[in-house]
Symmetry: C2
Subunit: 218 residues, 2 copies
DNA sequence: CTCCTGATTTAGGTATACCTAAATCATACA
DNA sequence: TGTATGATTTAGGTATACCTAAATCAGGAG
């Protein structure tokens, strides 16, 4: 059996690779909140077990084997979030951390039944796709908020940030998946974006904007 | 944070003490399916941390501190079983082992919401009481099946056995909490009990009978 | 009351998963 | 084209949680 710790490493690698970030020792250490030395050791072991390929001093990449496990964990994570929010009424900004505990306790059988209970959900509460049982991840055809032009209308597809603080803020201004928005103004060179939600306009910093993915509707 | 392993030790001690079995090193080892040597070591540490009192070569007893944690784990275990059976449709004989994975992943907040979702259940699917949030365990006024006399009618309150094989058998003959039964015949000296369920009579061995608790109705 | 035996503990060992501090490496810029 | 600097790995250490084999103990049979 794969340990919870290992599951978290693989999940981290999946996230870094999805975001197009290089999976350096330091990036993994930051994400898991542990020392770079610990990551280095662990990666070495996971390379021996063929979950990753490791080019020392360069970086890490998931193998097909590692990716399969990672996607499995991501599926359990996102289903857990869905359950926590839809069935238990846990706040969406707390769902992520809670799901990180729950995800390791779901057997395949339980995961399958949970998927049904939740009505075969396609996304987590933050809009990220739930991988299929066979490990496929649907393309949601979304683009970064920053790719929109002034006066474009769009619908929020997903929020990739998982920080409770950010999520709480976004929820408070109604910025969640399915929300209809309009770009009012853009600062040059990837600066802030001014976005209208309902009647009100909000300025979103570069950091927060980068985690918002949309589909044009206008 | 208390580890899953520690939670399982405390849970085991709770069960042994409830059943009136002496919490010997060997009994704990059998229950957890690990070596007696491992148990001995671990108990020593848990005694230092005041979860138990240990009289070397004699046995172990939960302290108030240890009992509080144990009851907390038992609550999460029984709620997990309830959830698995009622909401996910997991078979009751598989609920126990699945719950053992799930129970360690529930935060207090999640446990509280889950309790509500399940309609404040008083028992697990096998009839064992769900401890209250404050750690109280309701008395269910039940007695061992063997305490009944011939021709007594009774209602099943709980099945304390957790073996899938036994549970599957009992379910197959309709012997579960709330089932109405009648004692047809008893072998002397704690031997088999012949019990009528609906139209059919079944002989229950001493072992299996000991795990069936009832309340007289006739 | 002594001895035997099974239960228990201790000794010594492994694997995971973390740590800090020291050594080593890659590369960017001066 | 060195060299210093930051990233990475290695060295050495701790804690948990398991193991088998050896030593020790306690209580019942004789
Ligand atoms: Mn996790
Ligand atoms: Mn999510
Ligand atoms: Mn457990
Ligand atoms: Mn139960």
């Amino acid at each position: 059996m794969i340990t919870p710790s290992r599951e978290d490493y693989l999940e981290t690698l999946f996230h870094l690779e999805s975001e197009g970030v290089a999976s350096t020792t330091q990036a993994i250490a930051d994400h898991l909140q542990i020392s770079a030395a610990s990551v280095s050791e662990n990666i070495k072991k996971m390379a021996i077990e063929r979950f990753v390929v490791h080019s020392p001093y360069k970086g890490v990449k998931l193998t097909a084997k590692g990716r399969a496990v990672a996607i499995d964990v991501v599926r359990r994570h996102r289903l857990s979030e869905r359950f926590l929010v839809d069935k238990l009424g846990i706040k969406w900004e707390e769902a992520h951390r809670e799901a990180h505990r729950l995800e390791h306790g779901l057997s395949r059988a339980v995961e399958v039944r949970m998927f049904e209970l939740l009505g075969n959900p396609e996304t987590c509460p933050h809009g990220n796709p739930v991988p299929t049982l066979s490990g496929k991840i649907r393309d949601d055809h979304s683009h970064p908020l920053a790719s929109l032009n002034v006066h474009d209308r769009a619908r929020i597809v997903k929020i990739t940030d998982e920080e409770p603080k950010q999520l709480r803020y976004l929820a408070s201004i109604g910025l969640m998946p399915k929300t209809q928005i309009r770009v009012e103004r853009k600062a040059p060179f990837g600066g802030a974006v001014i976005v209208r939600v309902g009647e009100t306009a909000y300025a979103l910093g570069n950091d927060i904007a980068r985690s918002i993915w949309v589909r044009k509707t206008g």
